[in-house]
């Protein structure tokens, strides 16, 4: 279907750009992670394993990483718990209003992350909407502390941000299920719940895996919500990286952490891809 010129014209420009602006930066990050920084704040191009030794040795890095993974895990679970029934309702029960509801779900998705995180800050603060509301109706007498500047606030905000992300692939997978399978299941004697458990849910698993991956990876690497709402106890791994590229000025160490995150994400993607293949049947 092609002339050579056509084929070259469509593959070369994106290929070159991607090589220059995606591949090369990652390779550079790899290199940086093996370099170090001198006391005079110069980057020393000397190859060594120091950064990795430091990551493995000092407590704060693995600690923060595990805390971040724990936060990301909770966000993932809550996003799935909120998103799956919503997707099921839209796909199987909403009928004519399905389209309208779908729009309602994706709108928040594209409305500024910063705006939404900020909104939670104003709600959860000690002078915030929630606290003053609770005091106003005499449910509490003092502002609740844990609402803001805590892992709770981070999990809440990130769940709010990533629930639509979890919803989308689940909804797509549910829509993909031929309705005659549901009828066949009823025909063979299975009640609606049994049909869900034996037919609908297994066939929706690739969507669940994709949604979970999105929610987990994106919340793991988030640095805005912890900065705005996390307080000292809510610091995540990305905040450490940010400070290493900022005030703490240790780019090589920051690169090492970033590289680890990158590898972790790639490993997760491969894993879910394998799992999705195993659970995809059409």
């Amino acid at each position: 279907m092609f002339s050579r010129a056509y084929r070259a014209a469509i593959t070369l420009p994106p290929l070159l750009w991607v090589a220059l602006f995606l591949l090369t930066p990652y390779l550079l990050m790899f290199c940086f992670s093996f370099w170090s920084v001198s006391p005079s704040q110069e980057i020393v191009h000397q190859w060594n394993f120091n950064n990795y030794r430091e990551l493995a040795a000092k407590g704060v890095y693995p600690e923060t990483l595990f805390r971040s993974m724990w936060i990301a895990a909770r966000v993932t679970v809550f996003s799935l718990l909120l998103g799956y029934p919503l997707a099921y309702y839209l796909s199987f029960r909403a009928g004519a209003r399905k389209e309208l509801f779908y729009q309602l779900v994706i709108i928040p998705l594209w409305v500024s992350y910063l705006v939404r995180a900020y909104a939670w800050k104003t709600i959860l603060g000690s002078d915030g909407v929630l606290n003053t509301l609770l005091q106003y109706v005499h449910l509490t007498r003092h502002p609740l502390d844990f609402l803001l500047y805590s892992p709770f606030a981070v999990v809440l905000t990130l769940t709010h941000i990533y629930t639509p992300f979890a919803f989308l692939p689940i909804y797509a997978a549910l829509e993909h299920i031929p309705r005659n399978l549901v009828e066949a299941s009823h025909d063979l004697g299975a009640s609606p719940f049994q049909t869900f458990w034996r037919v609908i849910f297994p066939l929706s698993i690739p969507g669940v895996l994709a949604g979970a991956t999105f929610a987990f990876v994106l919340s793991l690497g988030d640095f805005l919500a912890p900065l705005l709402l996390g307080g000292p106890s809510g610091i995540m791994i990305s905040n450490i990286v940010v400070s290493l590229f900022g005030a703490a000025y240790n780019w090589p160490l920051g690169a090492a952490i970033s590289l680890c995150m990158l590898l972790l994400v790639i490993a997760l993607l491969f894993l879910t891809e394998r799992l999705e293949k195993k659970w995809s049947f059409s």
């Binding site: 709108i107 629930t163 999105f214 990876v217 690497g221 990286v241």
Partner: protein, 280 residues
């Protein structure tokens, strides 16, 4: 499937209730934001009192914000151009061409979609440093453009999947060469996906913060300007600008959605996944 709708059972009540609760959860912060942008007493406190347009007036006179809006617009438009200029050929290449490294290319192009923005931003920062490129709006443009190629490629790719190959073959059969076929047959069919992608890229770029955070020079984009203010303390002016951002995003996304539906008859991020097979 009718009987499921006509005969209420236990499950059929809590599902719509759950849905309503989730929608409330999703929209609550935005509602609060919009409401309190009119609140005379500031961002907190309940109930809102002294409804006023003051904050909007302050906003109107805030030149720093409007400078950053201007910057953001420039960045968004430039990023849109780059992403489309590279994303459209990328989609074509992925859809039709065979070349060495295709699998790697596909993964690389799609990676920024799922990778936390911090990694994309940081890696580009290292590149610019080693190449001694000064940070400025240009570096932000390059960052956005690169990250958003994936959006352009995905949307156009989905549009290509829906394209009937027979049309292109007919064009070739009737004497047009590959270039002519591309411009006369392929591109017109991609009009809607491209416009949709442009809209999406524009919106995402206007809101982008993670990549911009590391590539910023002297001039701020709107999100970074707001961010800077947040570090210094909250003012309801931020509510006002946030409300405005919300309504613009709303308009953009609804338009995008409508275009999508017109292009494919069905909404969905990955159109090729959304195919409800019927038994009859």
């Amino acid at each position: 499937m009718e009987f499921l709708v006509k005969r209420p059972s236990d499950t059929s009540l809590w599902l719509p209730l759950h849905a309503a609760a989730v929608f409330a959860f999703l929209y609550l912060p935005i509602a609060v934001l919009v409401l309190y942008s009119f609140n005379g007493q500031g961002v907190g406190g309940f109930p809102p009192r002294n409804l006023t347009l003051d904050w909007y007036r302050t906003l109107a006179g805030d030149s720093a914000i409007w400078d950053s809006v201007f910057n953001s617009l420039m960045v968004a438009i430039a990023a849109m151009a780059i992403s489309l200029a590279l994303g459209i050929p990328a989609a074509l290449a992925l859809d039709r061409a065979k070349f060495p490294g295709k699998a790697l290319f596909r993964r690389l192009v799609l990676l920024p979609l799922i990778l936390p923005g911090i990694i994309t931003g940081l890696s580009l920062l290292m590149l610019f440093r080693e190449a001694s490129v000064k940070l400025s709006l240009l570096t932000i443009i390059l960052g956005h453009g690169t990250a958003l190629i994936s959006v352009a490629a995905t949307e156009v790719f989905a549009g290509l999947q829906k394209l009937d190959r027979a049309q292109e073959e007919a064009s070739l059969d009737l004497g047009a060469n590959y270039w002519q076929t591309f411009w006369r047959v392929t591109m017109p069919n991609l009009k809607l996906p491209i416009i949709g992608a442009a809209l999406l890229i524009f919106t995402l770029s206007m809101d982008e913060i993670a990549v911009s955070f590391f590539l910023i020079g002297r001039d701020n984009t709107l999100p970074l300007e707001i961010w800077g203010r947040l570090r210094r303390g909250i003012t309801p002016e931020i509510n006002a600008i946030s409300t405005i951002i919300f309504f613009f995003s709303l308009a953009a996304i609804v338009t995008w959605y409508r275009l999508r539906v017109r292009a494919e008859g069905q909404p969905g991020i990955a159109a090729e996944l959304v195919e409800a097979g019927q038994g009859k």
